[in-house]
């Protein structure tokens, strides 16, 4: 990866961090309702994997911690924020909320709130890709705890039986809501669990974006070359609770300190500074620029946008004017 790409990635990840932290503030101000699951600490996973793939062309799906995956695929952050504000200009027109960001134009196929729900959906997208003869792949990002759902096993089995072009990325942040992985899961190393389905897999440091890119390239190449599914486990940590309603009392301060010492953004920043490609002032200026953009463009857009009209409550329940509802006759 060249210096320009590294700098771009640094900006993207810092933007992701600031975006999420601004969501936190907006939630406290009650501008954002419902559940809010933040990605802070895990940025290198989505950015690293999608850097190795073709965001906007490959089909991406994930769970409810979804803002950053959508943005990395190409979604306009203004629309994502407007969605969190429940506005008509939001990516799902205010009907989805934080857990249901969609941007089909950029092939971000959604955030889903049932843990493990996207596993078979991703396999299905891969089935469609295979039928339609494209060289895109399906990429499914989910957390470690999703692997204890039946859909994990059912989907891996089908993906292998039918040799589907799907990459499953496990963002292992060590906790299923508030339960530590070794208290809920017989085999703690997630990449070992897929051996039962004869699917190749790997485990990588999810805090070092350059390592993630390298591991993801191998994974993506495998899937894109028609060799079938692949499972990539990334070891990571979320700084915030599972959601905003989480007291975060189940984790030790020592553990939190240890992980924040391996912050994906700081690690990349320091590497660039050490190589003489970035100065501390330059980083600070970048940060200020991002904070201004979020405030002046993104938050301002969300604030100024209209809410959905109540007389359009039922819109989007069914297809509009589908002739086949009337037997093709109307």
């Amino acid at each position: 990866m060249n210096v320009a790409d590294k700098k771009r990635l640094l900006r993207e990840m810092l933007f992701a961090r600031r975006f999420e932290e601004r969501c936190y503030e907006a939630y406290v101000e009650r501008k954002i309702g419902g559940f809010l699951h933040l990605y802070s600490g895990e940025e290198a996973c989505a950015h690293g994997v999608l850097e190795a793939a073709r965001p906007g062309q490959d089909w991406v799906i994930t769970g409810y911690r979804d803002h950053i995956h959508a943005i990395k695929c190409g979604a306009d952050p203004k629309k994502v924020m407007a969605e969190l504000y429940g506005k008509e200009t939001g990516s799902s027109k205010g009907r989805g909320g934080s857990m249901h960001i969609f941007d089909v134009e950029h092939r971000f196929m959604g955030g889903y709130a049932l843990v493990g729900g996207p596993f078979p959906l991703a396999a299905g997208m891969a089935k469609a890709i295979k039928m339609q003869g494209g060289d895109e792949i399906a990429i499914c990002f989910l957390g470690d705890a999703a692997n204890n759902q039946g859909t994990f096993h059912e989907s891996l089995n089908m993906a292998k039986v039918w040799n589907l072009p799907v990459l499953y990325v496990c963002e292992n942040n060590l906790y299923g809501i508030g339960t530590r992985i070794d208290r809920s899961t017989a085999v703690v190393d997630q990449y070992k669990r897929v051996a039962g389905y004869d699917i190749p897999s790997a485990q990588e440091d999810g805090q070092d974006v350059e390592k993630v890119i390298k591991a993801a390239k191998k994974a993506v190449d495998h899937v894109r070359s028609g060799k079938g599914p692949y499972f990539l486990e990334l070891m990571t940590y979320r700084y915030r609770g599972h959601s905003m309603s989480d007291s975060n009392a189940y984790r030790s301060k020592d553990e939190e300190r240890e992980w924040s010492g391996r912050d994906p953004i700081i690690m990349l920043r320091d590497r660039l500074i050490k190589a003489g490609e970035l100065t501390k002032q330059g980083y600070k200026a970048l940060d200020t620029e991002i904070l201004d953009e979020i405030e002046n463009e993104i938050i301002a857009f969300a604030e100024a946008s209209p809410e959905p009209r109540v007389d359009e409550l039922k819109k989007y329940t069914f297809a509009e004017n589908d002739p086949w509802v009337y037997g093709g006759g109307r």
């Binding site: 709130a113 049932l114 299905g124």
Partner: protein
């Protein structure tokens, strides 16, 4: 006009739609090499191959979700769930993914899947193979529910369901696959919102759907012959949405309503039809509407108990006679 069996009508619709659109596929347990438990996909594996006639593992939630995911990208899967009792396992994907994705994406995505399943009480299949689940599906916003009572409807509803952009659940019946009926030779599409008058009458309306339409027809023959009562029969072939206009029109004509359902009364089709009648034409009624429904028990194995658990023609005749006073 050819006479086809119910399964042949479904098979023909599958075949025509697969020939029409290469993105139409069939999925389910034993539907390919084995030809299908109810023969609804017989011969299609040989004709279209394993990519499009997909024998799935016994993973109902998994393969239903896979079909839904494929539909996001333009594939049109017809998913057979062998028995409606197994559809409970797929409920997460039907309820949380297929039915909601259009709404929660603000109209960006849709899940044009068809899910076909055999429900109903057959012959001593026991509690876990005898359920009627249509009432559960009816309560799901974003899902269309249809239930054919004859081969013509089975063909025409499947044809429209495949082409419609909404997810559609088709409620079939274990006992009806060998039922014969006329199906037009020309291609034919049924509306996914509507009802049909299965018999004209003036004294009382019998509302039925799927197998209970046939019980209503038998009861109506007895009522006319033995008691001089002319029953109208409305075949509710779409359960969600229900045909409000069709229901109201018949009640305005006969002023009496009996709803016949194989399922338990609680939270069911009858309750919903009664609510529509109350809301739309209460003052047209000459008598309080009545439901003829199953007893609220898990379906027993013993043949006498099984028979006692679900309604029959005699129950319908008795309910109408009591209402009319003859």
């Amino acid at each position: 006009m050819a006479e086809l069996m119910y399964w042949e009508a479904i098979r023909r619709a599958h075949d025509e739609e697969m020939a029409h659109d290469p993105m139409v596929i069939c999925m389910g347990e034993d539907i390919g090499v084995a030809g299908g438990t109810y023969k609804a996909t017989q011969g299609l594996y040989a004709k279209y191959g394993a990519e499009r006639v997909v024998d799935t593992p016994i993973s109902e939630n998994g393969y239903t979700g896979l079909g839904i995911g494929a539909s996001f990208l333009g594939v049109r899967p017809v998913i057979e769930i062998m028995s409606v009792n197994f559809a409970w396992l797929a409920m997460d994907q039907i309820f949380n993914s297929a039915a909601k994705v259009r709404y929660m994406s603000g109209g960006q995505l849709t899940a044009p899947v068809v899910i076909r399943s055999a429900g109903g009480t057959a012959h001593q299949l026991g509690a876990q193979h005898s359920a009627r689940m249509e009432k559960v599906f009816m309560g799901i916003a974003g899902l269309r529910v249809v239930t054919p009572s004859n081969p013509r409807q089975a063909y025409g509803l499947l044809k429209s369901a495949v082409r419609c952009d909404d997810p559609v659940y088709i409620n079939e019946h274990e006992l009806m696959y060998n039922m014969k009926g006329e199906v037009p030779d020309d291609e034919y599409f049924m509306p996914l919102e509507g009802s049909e008058v299965a018999r004209e009458g003036r004294d009382v309306t019998l509302f039925g759907y799927n197998i209970s339409v046939h019980w209503c027809l038998q009861a109506a023959a007895t009522l006319a012959k033995d008691f001089g009562i002319e029953a109208e029969i409305i075949d509710l072939y779409t359960l969600s949405p229900l045909d409000r206009a069709g229901i109201v029109a018949s009640v305005r004509k006969t002023h009496r309503a009996v709803i016949v359902e194989e399922a338990e009364a609680a939270v069911g089709v009858g309750a919903e039809v009664m609510a529509i009648i109350n809301e739309e034409c209460f003052f047209e009624l000459d008598a309080a509407p009545v439901r003829v429904s199953a007893v609220n028990v898990p379906i027993p194995y013993n043949h006498k108990l099984e028979k006692a658990a679900i309604p029959n023609v005699g129950d319908i005749v008795a309910a109408v006679r009591k209402m009319v006073g003859k």
